[in-house]
């Protein structure tokens, strides 16, 4: 929307750098770091190294106690992706840097084996020989049959681009943590089930042995024990011991520290159960009590069998597969999450950063962005909260576990975790649990010597890693015990642009001594390789960007809410060029007077569901102070069951998601029927395929943009048609050919303002006569023209309701709609535009519409425009004030005013609605004459 990938690589030319003060600088938040090797003349799009795989992928490996490190599966599961890349070799690499010294087994001084609830470790490592860099996420799963009951696994995100891994570490870590938690939770469930079976076996064995012993006792009343009897007694004792051990294990697994999950609300009832069970140590021998046990025991009746008390270490036995180790539902969800990750991080780093910035900026406009943004993207955050896998599934059952998926551990204070390589200094961890990290952060940033630390890092690496010189451990999660003040450590991932962050931090200290310092830049340089750093002189020189940041502050503070009216008006008049940004600025400044939200606030904002926005955006937020809580963001605005907008019909992503199966549906992606069928045919993998949504939406945009361009070039009356859409007058696209109509409707839908986050009010194809309700619901309708007499009704209705509609007749190439004489649409849809590519045009439209939204925002929220200044003021005076504001301050002419007024109405309705379902859409219309346009 705001930043176009087409141009992003050129945002900072060299000559631009030389004279940065001559022209208003692009705000740092909008720019993306330069390609580090640009100075060496390297083509940024050439492959960085001789990587043997074509694109990024996710690898899951296990360190098998039988065969050593082995790759288990890749996502995507396609041999083409990793090509000739040696998975076995790489598995060996990544598994050999598992830092977890999780002690499992009999700890000294403990009678029973003890389970450790080990935190995952996150490591970045590179293999320069292979040209592969990886984010590696180690985790352990429990397996009753495994040595020490644990099986080490790891999930690795493998990319040829080192910087991608480094800069996206926080995001990767957050996303992988979700997957890992899901997997581990499923594993605990499976493990508990396994333990129960084992206990039943043991119990049964004990009974049998006991009976046998009794019989023997009775049989021989000689008064001494036969060796057989002694043997039996020993065995019985063993069984007893084993039972106690297993009961203890079961208790441990069940008492898995819930507080770590931090979302007890998602486990209603579950928590109590667990506590109950923790209290009543092991109840499984009592069938009645076990019956009312919680989910761990809810499984088909199990027939116990006779087993040997001593478990034998059998290497010939086949170990459980990953799938068997985990509850099926959870396993599927994990795979879905991994697949989601793969889609999320697809593409160039530059592109990822751009879209993150884009998202962050859009998030700031949370009051207006429902109007034109792809609701799917707007929903991105919600999507993450709800864990995307659940999204496409219409039946909620399979998605349930996902909601239970605990939040990633990165965000939680790492209490119990001890790294074995504690001396390795890494950052990339943000402990949001702490509230008082300000001074520490500041102190650290001043004391920090990047070079020293880098050396330290290197040295340590050499010392601790012996598995091969081609492996460089670039970073690992820092243990909380490393630093003296570790408990109040706030650190960041590698920032998008380190000096930006730094400058923010500096400026904060300047203006408000007591504001909570949430930004720390200290360790970030540690991860920046020397050559990379070279292009960032400002990252080392702290003072240099100061001037910039001062500007930024002035920028933020320019509009103060108490005098919102005059100031804004004044500033608008003086600097019309700032209008665009005023929308977000206004919000920003409002928020600035509010105490800086603590991280806890940020979390609670989300209604208890913790979302992990990309780190970069979080930085932005804090820099901008945009946590205006004006809008109570409803975490679940999407209503799948919404009668008016069946989710799959309106959600382009759903259908696009299945494009792997039905490529044909790309053009008319919302064909309900084809969606249904494709889903039906691929119900097994629909959860997975849903994750292609992100990518597909790109294609959708491109396609829509292209077709919109075509429409604008082809039809001289495109302007009034687009005006109709923008002003909320339903546009009916009438035609015989369904595909053509659908294509055009899809294209034009980019101009349709939404009512809310749920869906665009667009009906792609309808063949029945229209009804008044349809105009209330839909603002763009594809209508079938039938030659039969039955269509008479359709046409009659159309002419009857003509005052509510504009009619674009594709067959006769006519348009019947009101006159348009504004200046907005010609800029939005210039038929002589130089823009050639669909996606570029789409972005052009989005940025224009964002500008329009800002105007609507200003108009809606300017207090003095809507309320009488004094009690005697007439309605007319208010109206004339509104008109002059629209005309003079917002520079709107003629019909453009109607557009802004309509958008303002939508903003008001959206802002006031409690929940999206309750408010019904209004049909607003004007009594204006229509004209017939012909080619």
């Amino acid at each position: 929307m705001i930043s176009a990938p087409d141009v992003v690589a050129f945002t900072k030319e060299d000559e631009y750098e030389e004279e940065p003060y001559n022209e208003p600088a692009l705000p740092e938040e909008y720019s993306v770091p330069l390609f580090p090797y640009a100075s060496q003349g390297a083509n940024p799009w050439s492959k960085l190294s001789g990587a043997k795989f074509s694109r990024d992928f996710i690898l899951i490996s296990e360190f098998s106690e039988q065969v050593g490190p082995q790759p288990l599966l890749t996502i995507p599961n396609d041999a083409k992706v990793f090509g000739t890349f040696d998975l076995n070799y790489f598995s060996l690499r990544i598994m050999s840097v598992d830092y977890q010294a999780s002690f499992v087994g009999h700890p000294p001084g403990s009678a029973y084996p003890k389970l450790n609830f080990v935190e995952d470790s996150k490591v970045v490592l590179g293999d320069s020989k292979e040209g592969a860099f990886a984010y590696v996420h180690h985790l352990t799963l429990y397996d009753l049959e495994a040595r020490g009951f644990v099986r080490p696994f790891c999930m690795a995100y493998i990319s040829a681009d080192q910087h991608k891994i480094m800069q996206q570490f926080q995001e990767l870590s957050a996303e992988f943590s979700k997957a890992s938690e899901c997997l581990k939770m499923g594993n605990r469930k499976a493990f508990a089930g396994e333990l129960e079976k084992k206990l039943k076996d043991l119990d049964y064995t004990r009974t049998v042995l006991h009976t046998e012993t009794e019989i023997q006792k009775k049989a021989n009343d000689k008064g001494f024990y036969t060796s057989q009897a002694i043997e039996k007694a020993n065995e019985l004792a063993n069984v007893e011991k084993s039972i106690i051990e297993h009961q203890d294990l079961l208790r441990q697994i069940r008492s898995y520290p819930r507080q770590k999950m931090k979302i007890p609300a998602l486990h209603p009832g579950d928590t109590e159960h667990t506590q109950d069970q923790a209290a009543q140590v092991s109840t499984t021998s009592n069938p009645e009590e076990s019956a009312n046990a919680d989910l761990y025991t809810c499984r088909p009746a199990y027939t116990p069998k006779l087993i040997k008390a001593k478990s034998t270490k059998c290497f010939d036995k086949k170990l459980k597969t990953l799938e068997e180790l985990c509850d099926t539902e959870y396993f599927t969800q994990t795979l879905a999450q991994l697949s989601h990750i793969e889609h999320m991080f697809r593409g160039d780093l530059c592109y990822l950063l751009t879209s993150q910035i884009d998202r962050a900026l859009r998030k700031q406009q949370h009051i207006t962005n429902f109007l034109f943004e792809d609701f799917m993207e707007v929903d991105d955050r919600m999507e993450k909260q709800e864990n995307v896998p659940s999204r496409p599934s219409q039946d909620r059952l399979p998605s349930r576990p996902v909601e239970e998926c605990p939040i990633p551990k990165v965000l939680i204070s790492v209490g119990s975790y001890k790294s074995s390589v504690e001396s390795v200094l890494i950052k990339m961890e943000q402990e949001l649990g702490d509230e008082e990290y300000k001074e520490v952060a500041a102190a650290e940033s001043s004391n920090f010597d990047p070079q020293e630390n880098l050396d330290y890092l290197d040295m340590d690496m050499k010392g601790s890693i012996s598995s091969g010189e081609s492996i460089e451990v670039l970073g690992t999660e820092k243990s909380s015990s490393v630093l003296s003040k570790s408990d109040s450590q706030a650190s960041l991932t590698v920032p998008l642009s380190p000096h930006v962050v730094r400058s923010k931090a500096v400026s904060h200290r300047t203006i408000s001594e007591d504001s909570i310092e949430v930004l720390s830049t200290c360790p970030s340089e540690a991860l920046i390789p020397d050559d990379f750093k070279a292009s960032y002189p400002s990252a080392i020189n702290e003072e240099e960007p100061y001037a910039d940041s001062e500007g930024a502050i002035h920028f933020e503070a320019s509009v103060c809410p108490p005098e919102l009216g005059e100031t804004q008006e004044g500033s608008l008049e003086n600097t019309p060029s700032q209008i665009d940004s005023s929308c977000s600025i206004g919000k920003a400044s409002e928020g600035q007077l509010v105490p800086l939200p603590t991280p806890a606030d940020t979390l609670s904002d989300e209604d208890g569901v913790v979302s992990i926005p990309p780190q970069s955006s979080r930085q932005k937020d804090q820099g901008f102070h945009v946590d205006v809580e004006m809008e109570n963001t409803d975490p679940s605005p999407r209503d799948n069951s919404c009668e008016m907008f069946p989710a799959y019909e309106l959600d382009p992503s759903c259908l696009l998601a299945s494009r792997d199966v039905s490529k044909t549906s790309l053009d008319n992606y919302s064909d309900t029927a084809s969606y249904m069928s494709s889903v039906a045919s691929t119900s097994s993998d629909r959860t997975l395929s849903a994750h292609s949504a992100g990518l597909s939406s790109e294609r959708h945009k491109k396609r829509a943009g292209q077709n919109a361009l075509k429409f604008i070039r082809q039809y001289p009356f495109a302007h009034p048609a687009i005006y109709s859409l923008l002003s909320g007058r339903t546009l009916v696209v009438l035609g015989e050919d369904e595909t053509i109509v659908r294509k055009l409707v899809t294209a034009l839908s980019i101009f349709v303002p939404s009512y809310g986050y749920y869906a665009k009010p667009v009906k792609h194809w309808i063949s029945s006569p229209l009804h008044i309700m349809d105009f209330q619901k839909w603002k763009l309708i594809g209508l079938q023209r039938v030659a039969s007499p039955a269509s008479m009704g359709t046409l009659h209705t159309l002419s009857r309701y003509s005052r509510y509609t504009s009619i674009l007749d594709l067959d006769s190439k006519t348009l019947r709609c009101p006159l348009y004489r504004g200046t907005l649409v010609p800029r939005l849809a210039d038929h002589r535009t130089q823009i050639k590519r669909g996606s570029t045009y789409y972005l052009h439209v989005q940025s224009m519409l964002t500008q329009l939204c800002s105007k609507a925002f200003l108009y809606t929220f300017c207090h003095h425009l809507h309320l009488p200044a004094h009690s005697e003021e007439t309605q007319e005076a208010v109206a004339s004030r509104q008109a002059s504001f629209l005309k003079l301050n917002l520079g709107l002419v003629n019909e453009d005013i109607r557009v802004v007024q309509y958008l303002a109405e939508l903003l008001k309705l959206h802002y006031m609605q409690e929940s999206p379902e309750t408010t019904q859409p209004l049909l607003r219309f004007d009594y204006v004459p229509s004209f017939l346009y012909k080619i």
């Binding site: 004006m630 009659h796 009857r800 809507h866 209004l922 219309f925």
Partner: protein, 459 residues
């Protein structure tokens, strides 16, 4: 109904009719209704709307459900279910002024031969009476006596507690079609062609029981009486199926004025038009009245007539005001008249007094619609009824509301919220003044901002 959907064969005729119908273009600058909200809760024809208070109204219809709505937001407040058949009459029963905690009640009569009393604050059915011999077709509340009357084949008098106080003998098989209260504890009931005056006798010291006595029968109408409305304290008006309009004195029940020629063909008949008029009795039946101090507004078939009480003549008319029979008209305080019709449209008229321009010679005859039937007459020209003294009034079409796809049965006007229409297409539409609504929303928006503390952020 649904004429425009039938299409095909009806088309030429429809066009012919339209030529005579006054139309208005899309440009309706005086039409304030620029926002609509479709309310759908009923599953059958919605026939009745009744206002409960300033913000609420109830709707009822053939599906037997009564729904209480918020007129401002269009929110459905209550769903009153209990009748098994269609609702035949509904009336609001306001709480007694003396009674503090009195609830607003609704009385409903249904074709299942029951009458229900509902509390429209809680949605509870307080009581239901099912001892009727026939379907109750009209309900009237006599506020002064705190009783209500049910009119079916006989007339019953009930108190608030739903005790039957007294009732008349069987009156007729067709039953009472309309019931109106007139002074001196009397009610007038329309039974077929007859008007029957009843007097209610409240219990006094000498008389313990309520009684209802038939006082007089008025037999002046030639055909069944379709409409019966109070004009003021001293007169009421009736209209019959064949277009007779009679104004009665409410005190001595004599005829004050009588007009029988609404349907009378013009002296220069357009043959085709005439035949059609004669074929369709509906076109001359008087369906509804509405009154103000000076005029009675009469819906006659498809036409609208303004009858001046003092001049005792029609001062303005619109012979083809709608495509189809007009079902309901209401006079608004701002000199506007709203009509709704079977053709699915609602039209807003304004009565304008005009100095008559030098005009064509006026033929004699009271209700001369000369020339209006002519197809070549410019449709947009308002029809003027000339009067001898040179002043004339006209009914000017200032807007139409098109939304329903079927006959609009009734509408309600709220001063503050706009217009509510109900229709045979099962829908209710709330028509609002878009500009005012927009202003109200702004005020609400800033109220919410204030409540949330966003307007003046805490420092």
């Amino acid at each position: 109904m649904l004429r425009w959907l039938i299409g095909g064969g009806r088309e030429p005729q429809g066009l012919g009719e339209k030529a005579a119908l006054q139309t208005i273009g899309e440009d309706q600058s005086q039409n304030p209704y620029t926002e609509l909200l479709v309310l759908s809760a009923h599953r059958d024809i919605v026939r009745f709307l009744v206002q409960l208070d300033d913000n609420r109204f109830a709707s009822a219809g053939d599906d037997g459900i009564i729904v209480v709505w918020n007129a401002q937001t269009g929110e459905k407040l209550l769903d009153l279910r209990g009748h098994s058949q269609k609702i035949t009459a509904i009336t609001a029963f306001p709480p007694l002024d003396s009674c503090e905690q009195g609830h607003q009640l609704i009385l409903t009569a249904s074709a299942d031969r029951t009458v229900g009393v509902w509390d429209c604050d809680t949605g509870r059915q307080i009581q239901s009476v099912s001892c009727f011999q026939s379907t109750v077709k009209c309900l009237t509340v006599l506020q002064g006596l705190d009783v209500w009357l049910s009119g079916g084949n006989d007339l019953g008098v009930w108190n608030r507690k739903l005790d039957l106080l007294c009732k008349t003998n069987h009156l007729s098989d067709t039953g009472i079609s309309a019931l109106v209260e007139i002074p001196r504890n009397c009610v007038v009931a329309a039974v077929g062609k007859e008007l029957i005056i009843f007097r209610l006798v409240a219990p006094t010291e000498g008389l313990l029981e309520w009684d209802i006595i038939e006082v007089k029968r008025l037999l002046d109408h030639q055909d069944s009486i379709l409409s019966l409305v109070n004009i003021n304290d001293t007169s009421f008006v009736t209209g019959s199926h064949v277009g007779e309009l009679i104004i009665w004195d409410a005190l001595d029940w004599t005829v004050q004025a009588c007009e029988r020629s609404f349907w009378n063909p013009s002296p220069q008949p357009d043959a085709q038009q005439e035949i059609k008029l004669c074929q369709k009795q509906n076109d001359i039946s008087i369906n509804h009245f509405t009154c103000d101090e000076e005029n009675i507004f009469v819906a006659v078939g498809r036409g609208l007539y303004v009858y001046n009480l003092q001049l005792k003549r029609v001062i303005a008319c619109q012979k083809t005001a709608h495509d189809s029979t007009i079902l309901h008209i209401v006079r608004l305080p701002n000199r506007q008249l709203i009509s709704c019709s079977e053709d699915g449209s609602v039209r807003i008229w304004e009565v304008r007094e005009k100095q008559q321009l030098p005009a064509e010679p006026v033929p004699t005859g009271f209700f001369n619609m000369w020339g209006f039937g002519r197809v070549n007459k410019q449709a947009s020209q308002p029809v003027k009824k000339q009067q001898e003294n040179g002043t004339t009034c006209s009914l000017e079409l200032i807007g139409d509301l098109i939304g329903h796809s079927s006959s609009v049965e009734m509408f309600l006007y709220f001063e503050d919220h706009g217009l509510v229409t109900c229709s045979a297409d099962h829908l209710i539409i709330l028509w609002k003044n878009g500009e005012r609504e927009s202003g109200l929303r702004s005020i609400k928006l800033f109220q919410k901002l204030e409540e949330d503390g966003d307007l003046h952020p805490a420092v």
